[in-house]
């Protein structure tokens, strides 16, 4: 545990923080420089995340986790950062989305308001921190960091619609944060620890009255995370907010709702696995039914959506619901396929959010809110973003249409894109019950998954026809290469996931195995020696 390579774990948190701080010092007019710094930071983040992913995968053979003790205090007394396959996967996903959204925003969105690049980096910092931390209260702090940044991003570009959506978004998230705090302090009051590994270790040995308190704490925490993930009935804010947000911000938010799913998966498998004594499997049915209701609500929302941004927002709900329900079934291979689905659907939704903005330009060119804010920030006469910089893509409509079809296939879960593998994997795993009959809830879930795929396909086809075929007289939208590249790259990445499905699926299954053996996580975190001590014992 010496050398610089061991400090790599904290880089995803420190690097965006430093970069955000530096950019705060720069004058607001030097957007080009800020863009370069931001791009360099996100590229470095992605590289670090990929290195960490490889490291986690290789280390996974011998030990479940790699820990980083902040201030060299051993867990559970100090705060630890924990790297395992799941968190490494989420880091890579954040890195990919970060770089895609930033590239997209460089075309015009980063000029639509002040301090976009700083807020963007802080959002990445909060996300990375939340994925890495092994401490409940630290998780709360990173949640607040990313929420504060997301408030900024929701309001980026201003305009009445964004402020109205932002108001509801901030209010509901503040309430969620209060629930989070109540849950955390209740868990602390009952168990006397905030370290996730220590919590998992103590839960099986609790006295009955304390176990009831922990169950209450878990339910309250679960509500807060489900709210974040967009589970019904706490999700009415989500489509409105995501649809109102600027396209690059919405693309980044696609991973934010997955953060809620991640935390539930992490805490639930850790604390309420089969070894949790009286509380084993606590709340599993709730997760399953909440997830199914969310899929149903999202499906209806997708079908009822009048506008493309709202449709994209509702497909976030379908994706979240699928994941929550899959976690709720708790079966071994279900979670592996669900993780695969998580990656493909997050990439697909992010691509869709960015694509939607480009397609929407076809509808009312020049009349969008952006033009107003550009004027407010005195940008209109600097250069016309559509004409001077970059190359206007030939056959814009063809590429837009092709990407739209790819998004539709991905979200509906049709072959040949990765969405199919994920959904098919979930269904296959649900039907695999080792001889005993398939449960009724599993049948309902399979039915819902199929119907939601069909509904997504119908809705996407309908809007696709009305945007691409029926509006031939409309002007061709001015789309620049730098805007189209991230969308196409995200979709190609999904194609890559299909082609490289074998290794990816193996990784997901290894992740699931590690998740289902929480004991390794616990011993890995609590048994990690302090740096510079031979015995790993506590400080004298």
């Amino acid at each position: 545990m010496t050398g610089l390579a061991d400090h790599l774990i904290i880089v995803p948190i420190l690097l965006p923080l430093v970069s955000a701080a530096v950019m705060l010092l720069l004058d607001e007019r030097r957007r080009g420089l800020k863009g370069i710094i931001g791009l360099a930071t996100t590229t470095a983040l992605l590289i670090v995340a990929v290195v960490l992913l490889r490291q986690a995968d290789l280390m996974g053979m011998t030990s479940a986790v790699t820990t980083y003790q902040l201030g060299n205090w051993p867990a559970p007394f100090g705060i630890v950062l924990v790297l395992d396959r799941l968190s490494a996967l989420m880091l890579v996903l954040t890195g990919v989305l970060g770089i895609a959204a930033l590239l997209y925003s460089l075309a015009r969105w980063h000029r639509a308001g002040p301090r976009f690049h700083t807020i963007f980096q802080l959002q990445l910092m909060g996300l990375n921190g939340a994925f890495l931390t092994g401490d409940l209260f630290n998780l709360f702090v990173f949640f607040e960091v990313l929420l504060a940044a997301s408030y900024g991003l929701v309001l980026h570009g201003a305009g009445s619609a964004r402020v109205r959506a932002g108001l509801a978004y901030i209010a509901i998230n503040l309430t969620g944060s209060f629930l989070f705090l109540i849950g955390v302090s209740l868990a602390y009051g009952a168990t006397g620890t905030l370290n996730m590994a220590d919590l998992a270790q103590r839960i099986p040995t609790l006295a009955p009255q304390d176990a009831a308190l922990v169950a209450a704490a878990a339910a309250i925490l679960g509500t807060a995370f489900l709210m974040k993930a967009g589970a019904w009935p706490l999700n009415f804010w989500l489509p409105t907010t995501y649809a109102a947000a600027a396209a690059p911000a919405a693309a980044l938010f696609a991973i934010m709702s997955k953060l809620g799913v991640y935390v539930i998966l992490r805490l639930w498998t850790l604390a309420f696995g089969p070894g949790a004594g009286a509380l084993a499997g606590f709340g599993g049915e709730w997760l399953l039914f909440t997830g199914m209701l969310t899929i149903a609500f999202g499906t209806i929302g997708v079908l009822a959506s009048q506008s493309l941004p709202r449709l994209a927002g509702c497909s976030v709900l379908v994706s979240s619901g699928t994941l929550i329900a899959a976690i709720g079934t708790g079966g071994g291979t279900v979670i592996g396929s669900a993780l695969f689905y998580l990656v493909s659907s997050t990439l697909g939704i992010a691509a869709l959010f960015m694509l939607v903005e480009l397609v929407e330009r076809m509808r009312d060119p020049g009349a969008d809110v952006l033009a107003v804010t550009m004027e407010a920030y005195n940008e209109s006469n600097e250069d016309d973003p559509g004409e001077e910089i970059g190359v206007a893509i030939p056959a814009t409509i063809a590429i837009l249409g092709g990407s739209f079809i790819a998004c539709a296939l991905l979200l509906a879960g049709l072959p040949p894109l990765a969405g199919f593998i994920g959904k098919f994997g979930i269904m296959a795993a649900l039907l695999q019950t080792d001889g005993s009959s398939v449960q009724a809830s599993a049948w309902i879930l399979i039915g819902l998954l199929t119907v939601s795929g069909l509904a997504t396909l119908i809705a996407m086809t309908r809007t696709g026809i009305s945007s691409f075929w029926a509006r031939i007289d409309d002007s061709v939208p001015r789309v620049r290469v730098i805007e189209m590249t991230p969308v196409v790259c995200l979709l190609l990445l999904c194609l890559g996931l299909t082609v490289g499905g074998g290794p990816a699926m193996r990784y997901m299954e290894a992740t699931t195995k590690a998740l289902q053996a929480p004991q390794d996580y616990v011993t890995g975190v609590l048994g990690a020696p302090r740096v510079g001590s031979a015995d790993g014992g506590p400080r004298p």
Binding site: E144, Y151, A158, A171, T175, F178
Partner: protein, 115 residues
């Protein structure tokens, strides 16, 4: 007795906070959020058990009886929570004013209910 007063205080603050949070005016919402944050902060504090006159800081590192001391951790947590909720309330206030300016009404939906 302390416990009863404490619990009542948290309960009343939460109740008033939730009621105000569900009101249609943005100013009521922000006051509701503030009251809720006070309630939550008190709750966190209470989770470290209520003690009177017990110091939270150890005077020396020798073997001492921890039961003579108050739990310092919830106090640290509550400090963090206060700072964060204060900052978020300030931010919400800015958005509230922006909403008032842009929509011309202080209704949370940005438009008045049709009477």
């Amino acid at each position: 007795m302390t416990e009863l007063v404490f619990a009542l205080a948290v309960g009343i603050l939460t109740g008033s906070g939730v009621w105000l949070l569900l009101r249609p005016r943005t100013f009521q919402v922000i006051i509701g959020l503030s009251l809720l944050s006070y309630a939550v902060n008190l709750f966190i504090f209470g989770m470290g058990r209520l003690r009177v006159g017990a110091p939270p800081v150890l005077e020396n590192a020798e073997a001492i009886d921890p039961s003579l001391y108050a739990d310092p951790l919830p106090q640290a947590l509550v400090l963090t929570a206060i700072v964060i909720s204060f900052a978020m309330t300030a931010l919400f206030l800015v958005v509230l004013l922006a909403s008032r300016g842009l929509t011309g009404t202080d209704h949370v939906d940005g438009r008045e209910d049709p009477q």
